[in-house]
């Protein structure tokens, strides 16, 4: 509502101009009416739009009358056709009887005829109708239908008498138009005229009249008392009429005379014309008469194979279970289409006794048939189906059937079977490993909160290894949907881990149990889960600590990286160094949203720890995702390391691609190093050439940026984010500033593509760049953003626009003063949906990119 108030304020200010003082409002449109008089297509539409807005916003009769007066005057003036067409249109929207004479006069101008006639139609008064009728009397044969149709659409009952005589005209176009006009008015008297005319002409088929009568009959369906109705419907059902007319009439006949339904529908379904018989299936679907089921079953047996699927579907949707034996007979038909249609119908008609039959089809048939049978099984509404499925799942039968039964129980959300399924998962009931795994997966949907502790305890059982791959996911999902009275979802698992450590819970294999539960915690990924994982690193058991190290990178937080670094430095993790390094590199690869300074430190530390070619290759692959000068320098250094030289060269080129905007001089220098390598791979050489070419296309735009963010708040649109300050505004030092990489595949090299670099919707990114100048000077910042933006120059907010818009480089032009020394430009660019990008450059008064400045992404 606030939004309306805000926007409403804008609207109100406009309305105040037009409405508050009618006279004043109209005066304000003087210039627009003057412009309208001279308007022709190709000129600015602005005056027309303002007049149109005033017409549509007219809230009181006085304003409307004044506007009408001016429009009438214009229509009578010497203005051009487009001006007058506009006036006609507006009179159609706002005009009263006052404008009828002017509109009538306009009918004489061929180019205005249609627009003026439509306007008269819209005025919808008896005077307007009289004017149209008068014209119709005088009109030639060609124009007569237009007047008739207009009178019809106008819908005044007083026009019925005027139109009726035209129904008898010999000219078909006129008679048909009269019929359409009467049906458009649709009043009972109009319909009676049509009925009489139809009956009078009953000796020959007149489709237009038939359509008009049918429309009238549909409009007045309760008119069973009218003796003409039955006669007409009977005639329309005659074979002389097209199938769709016969079907429409028959449907109506069944509605109006329900006693005839059985006879009419039976006749339709057995009609010689296949189009009628087939079309009647639509009625057969909804008829509740039991006899129709019997008839459709008969038709099913008689029908050619190609029609059987449609008939089987009809039997299914009728939900009359007396058709069940017939439908079941086609479940084993030779044709797959027929079998599948029968299976679908079984899903709608069947009961618990068909559980096994459908289950077998869902396992043994061709893939599409399996899918249909599975769907049918999940649709069976008989509640006893769940018990049957549970019996099959827990029985000693075929393994594939048992697994499928468990799947279907989950698909049916058969929570009543949760205990049985849990016993299967536990291994208490006879079950193969695959059955147990399926049961564990089914618990994700079926198990109630009360079963959570017992399911967690599964991890401590002796036979848990069989289900160790699927149990963590089940535990995490159960925990996250459990009703825990606002407790952290990780809490039950944490409690169980504590009880193992306190020896209050006995488990078969502590290592396996911890592995399962720590993996579950990593999927839950809450603070509680993370804290418990950290504690585990202090346990003496290496296998447990190994698991903890392995799952740590799944918590995508800066602390994971720091902890793993500590592990690598600590002597207590001596035996786990390889695992720790591997996990550290994974965590490092995921650290793209951390501040560049932090990441650079980690890159250098990782470099000191990667002593084998394998780990060095892993690190090189990692740093290509982390563009910075530190990464680039490391990769360049390793070009000289024989075993990883090729990977280092590739890393240098990849990093140069990302950094070519941020550090062009450095990039050119490094590319020369690559270029100088003897016998360099031609693919690498081509990439080097592309980077250089790309760097030559910046056209003076600013491309050296650091970015921070993206910032967003759940459920808050970018329009509202605009009013919320984030770290770069409040405390820039703590923001996650890192290089904004460019992409060589960008259509326009200098465009900053945030959607590519960050992605997501309804968010804001901050970017900043440092402009170093040898002198003081004035400049213009040419800016374009998609969508809105805010701009700070040397810490001062100089521009703000909260809108959705496409990128138009240079759309905003801001005067700025460049100081001698360092200047800082910061933008916040908002994503309101669709593309997300920006382009900026500094130019002088003549529009030439500023010279004598150096631009760098950070100090």
């Amino acid at each position: 509502m606030m939004y309306f108030l805000k926007k409403g304020a804008v609207l109100l200010s406009f309305l105040l101009c037009v409405v508050a003082s009618a006279q004043d409002g109209i005066v304000k449109l003087d210039d627009d009416f003057s412009a309208l008089e001279k308007y022709h297509f190709g000129m600015s539409e602005a005056p027309l739009y303002r007049i149109q807005a005033a017409v549509r916003a007219a809230q009181d009769p006085e304003t409307a009358a004044q506007l009408e007066k001016r429009l009438i005057a214009l229509l009578k003036s010497q203005s051009g056709i487009e001006s007058k067409r506009f006036a006609c249109r507006m009179l159609g929207e706002i005009g009263s009887d006052t404008g009828i004479a002017a509109l009538d006069e306009a009918l004489d101008v061929p180019e205005l005829f249609n627009t003026a006639l439509t306007a008269l139609e819209q005025v919808r008064s008896s005077q307007a109708a009289d004017s149209i009728a008068q014209r119709m009397d005088e009109s030639d044969v060609d124009r007569c239908p237009s007047f008739l149709l207009t009178l019809g659409r106008q819908g005044l009952e007083t026009s019925i008498e005027i139109i009726a005589p035209y129904l008898k005209k010999e000219n078909d176009a006129i008679a048909n138009a009269a019929a359409q006009a009467l049906v458009a008015i649709g009043a009972p008297t109009a319909c009676d005229i049509l009925y009489n005319e139809f009956l009078a002409k009953a000796t020959h088929v007149n489709e237009s009249l038939a359509d008009a009568c049918l429309t009238c009959l549909y409009k007045h369906t309760g008119d069973a008392e009218n003796p003409e109705v039955k006669k007409i419907l009977t005639l329309l059902c005659d074979q002389a009429f097209p199938p769709q007319v016969r079907l429409g009439a028959a449907q109506l006949r069944m509605n109006v005379f329900p006693d005839e339904t059985e006879a009419v529908l039976t006749a339709l379904l057995r009609d010689e014309d296949e189009r009628v018989a087939h079309g009647a299936l639509m009625q057969a679907r909804v008829s509740t008469l039991p006899s129709i089921t019997k008839l459709v079953v008969t038709l099913l047996d008689e029908a050619p194979a190609s029609r059987k699927p449609a008939i089987l579907e009809v039997l299914g949707v009728r939900r009359d279970t007396t058709a069940l034996p017939a439908v079941q007979g086609y479940v084993h038909d030779d044709l797959p289409e027929v079998r599948m249609a029968a299976l679908r119908a079984m899903g709608l008609l069947g009961n618990a006794s068909h559980t096994r039959l459908l289950l077998e089809h869902s396992v043994l048939g061709p893939p599409e048939e399996q899918r249909v049978a599975l769907q049918a099984l999940t649709q069976l509404s008989d509640k006893r189906v769940d018990a049957r499925l549970a019996d099959i799942a827990c029985g000693k039968g075929d393994e594939a059937l048992r697994i499928q039964a468990i799947k279907v129980l989950a698909d049916r959300k058969a929570v009543s079977s949760a205990d049985s399924i849990y016993r299967l998962a536990l291994g208490e009931l006879e079950a193969t490993p695959d059955i147990r795994r399926q049961a564990v997966q089914a618990l994700r949907i079926l198990a109630p909160s009360s079963l959570l502790d017992e399911t967690i305890a599964l991890s401590g059982k002796s036979n848990v290894e069989e289900i160790s791959q699927v149990l963590p996911q089940t535990l995490s999902e159960m925990a996250m949907r459990a009703d825990l009275n606002n407790e952290d979802p990780a809490a039950p698992i944490v409690h169980y881990l504590d009880s193992i450590q306190n020896s209050t819970a006995k488990v078969s294999d502590v290592s396996i149990t911890f592995t399962i539960l720590l993996e579950a915690l990593s999927l839950i990924a809450t603070d509680t889960a993370f804290e418990r994982l950290k504690q585990t690193l202090n346990l003496p058991d290496d296998s447990i600590r190994r698991t903890a190290i392995k799952v740590l990178p799944r918590f995508q937080r800066a602390e994971s990286l720091q902890i793993l670094k500590t592990c690598l430095e600590s002597s207590s993790f001596e035996s786990l160094r390889p695992q720790a390094l591997s996990a550290y590199l994974i965590a490092l690869k995921n650290s793209g949203s951390l501040p560049r300074i932090v990441v650079d430190e980690h890159v250098m530390f990782a470099a000191s720890r990667c002593s084998t070619p394998e780990t060095q290759r892993d690190l090189l692959a990692t740093i290509t995702q982390l563009p910075s000068l530190a990464s680039l320098q490391l990769a360049e250094q390793w070009i000289g390391k024989g075993e990883v030289s090729a990977e280092a060269t590739r890393a240098v080129v990849q990093l140069c691609k990302s950094l070519c905007g941020a550090w062009p001089e450095v990039v050119r220098e490094k590319l020369q190093v690559v270029d100088a390598v003897p016998n360099q791979d031609p693919v690498i050489m081509e990439e080097v050439r592309q980077v250089v070419q790309f760097m030559d296309s910046f056209e003076g735009y600013l491309v050296a940026w650091e970015m921070a963010g993206p910032y967003f708040k759940s459920g808050i649109s970018a329009v509202k984010l605009f009013d919320i300050p984030f770290d770069p505004e409040i405390n820039p030092e703590v923001a996650n500033w890192r290089i904004l990489p460019l992409s060589l595949s960008s259509k326009v090299p200098f465009v900053l593509e945030f959607d590519r670099a960050l992605g997501g919707e309804n968010r804001v990114v901050y970017v900043r760049t440092f402009i170093q100048s040898a002198q003081n000077m004035d400049a213009i910042l040419e800016l374009g953003t998609n969508d809105g933006c805010r701009v700070w120059w040397n810490g001062n907010l100089v521009h703000a626009i909260n809108t959705g818009r496409p990128l138009t480089p240079g759309e905003d032009k801001l005067a700025v003063h460049v100081n001698e020394g360092s200047n800082i430009l910061m933008l916040a660019v908002y994503q309101q949906g669709g593309n997300w990008c920006a382009a900026a450059r500094l130019v002088d008064a003549s529009g030439t990119p500023l010279s004598g400045i150096r631009v760098v992404p950070h100090k």
């Binding site: 916003a57 429409g248 949906g833």
Partner: protein, 438 residues
């Protein structure tokens, strides 16, 4: 303006039709239905009316279904028409042993297509202002119909289509294909089965990103020889020809369409209706604010907010913010459906792991929006987006546009299908330039 083209008599339109090859070719086994193929006599015989833009894609989606036999394409732009014919013939040719096929007719007047007795169904993908006139004529001619959304360019036109389709027992699928996505249907099942608690608000997010052509005044241009512009205008008012008025950009001119509202907005509002369980009705009030271009050819809103209120108390609030999609908010959580793509978000996220049981409300699944239509033509069943659904969704789009233009809260009478405001009622009145009518 080419006035000669303005007269649309039966005689004149017959002259416009060019038959490209109606000569019989050697009939291969596939055409006869052997080798496991569907015989032509059992196929749905189809034609496309409007084969540019979305019509081209729809045609491709339909003719490649084994149950369909295409025989004709129709377009008032002869270049589009020829491209459409080539598209279909190339496909059929690729399935012939000799690599040749030339059995598709070109038409430039839809009435000739509808006059063919052998055609069972038509695909309509013309500009919006033609949808209703052609759909009504197709229903009267006994054709089943796949009609692009919005179903109609005004509320009364939509009502006329509903009545004609039901009167003649036709199958009509509106091109609101987003409701055929499994994810969208699943999300709506979650809402309708109370998984987010009591639904109170539906937020429709329709970001607009075609600003670049707005605000520009275009000059009158000569009508291309291959384009029957007067026929293109059809029931719409006369207007000087300029290229940007037609083809893709017509959607930003209120005479022919409703802007973003009836374009992608129609998909999103449509999902709102599905999730709210109000496919069969309309809200009882609408209020809107819109920013319209101050000049230029295009006159649809580019920034907007509107709010509907349903009789069940639910509010549907739309605006031009992103991401594009619909969010259902209940007292126990929310679900967001991304349009297009169908990805889901929810709070709590565990909502998306919920299973809908056999005794709960199920919306069924679709094997594809076009395929669903063909299935229903065969079985006479109800498609996923039947005519009433299309009518109500399109009507909401038009109601919002009118409210934005009118600048005041409007109340809707669901019985009489009118507003409580005379000017608003006149604004929903469609232009029917002679000889066209419904």
């Amino acid at each position: 303006m080419n006035k000669q083209l303005g007269k649309c008599t039966r005689r004149s339109f017959l002259k416009r039709t060019v038959a490209f090859t109606a000569f019989p070719t050697i009939i291969p086994a596939t055409v006869l239905g052997r080798n496991g193929h569907t015989a032509p006599s059992e196929r749905i015989v189809m034609a496309s009316i409007g084969v540019g833009g979305q019509g081209y894609h729809n045609t491709r989606a339909l003719f490649s279904l084994p149950e369909v036999q295409y025989v004709a394409v129709c377009d008032v732009d002869r270049e589009n028409c020829a491209k459409g014919r080539e598209l279909v013939e190339t496909y059929y040719a690729s399935r012939q042993p000799n690599g040749k096929y030339s059995g598709i007719m070109e038409y430039y007047d839809f009435r000739e297509v509808l006059a063919r007795d052998d055609i069972d169904a038509v695909m309509i993908a013309t500009p919006d202002h033609w949808h209703a006139v052609i759909s009504v004529a197709a229903a009267k001619a006994g054709k089943d119909i796949y009609c692009e959304k919005p179903l109609a360019n005004s509320i009364p036109e939509g009502r006329a289509v509903v009545d004609a389709v039901r009167r003649y027992g036709r199958v009509l699928q509106v091109g609101s294909h987003e409701r055929s996505r499994d994810n969208a249907r699943y999300a709506c099942e979650l809402v309708r089965n109370g998984r987010i608690g009591k639904l109170h608000t539906i937020k429709v997010q329709m970001p607009f990103d075609h600003f670049d052509k707005f605000g520009i005044t275009y000059p009158e241009m000569p009508i291309p020889a291959h384009f029957d512009y007067d026929f293109w205008l059809g029931p719409a008012r006369e207007a000087p020809y300029t290229e940007k008025r037609c083809h893709f950009f017509f959607r930003y001119i209120l005479d022919y369409s409703g802007g973003e509202m009836t374009d992608r907005g129609a998909h999103i509002i449509d999902l709102g209706q599905l999730g709210n369980g109000t496919d069969d009705t309309l809200p009882i009030s609408v209020e809107g604010w819109g920013a319209f271009p101050k000049e230029g050819l295009f006159n649809t809103a580019y920034d907007y907010r509107f709010e509907f209120e349903y009789a069940n108390g639910v509010r549907l609030i739309g605006d031009s913010s992103g991401p594009r999609g619909v969010r259902f908010e209940g007292d126990a959580g929310w679900i967001f459906i991304h349009v297009h793509g169908g990805n889901l978000e929810a709070d709590p996220p565990s909502l998306l792991r919920e299973v809908i049981g056999p005794n709960e409300l199920q919306l069924g699944r679709s094997k594809g929006h076009h395929y669903d239509f063909i299935e229903c033509v065969k079985s006479r069943g109800e498609p996923k987006a039947p005519v009433e659904v299309g009518y109500h969704t399109a009507a909401m789009c038009h109601m919002a546009n009118i409210a934005m233009n009118r600048g005041k809260k409007l109340h809707w009478n669901t019985e009489t299908e009118t507003f409580d405001d005379e000017i608003a009622n006149r604004m929903m009145h469609p232009s029917m330039r002679a000889p066209w009518t419904l």
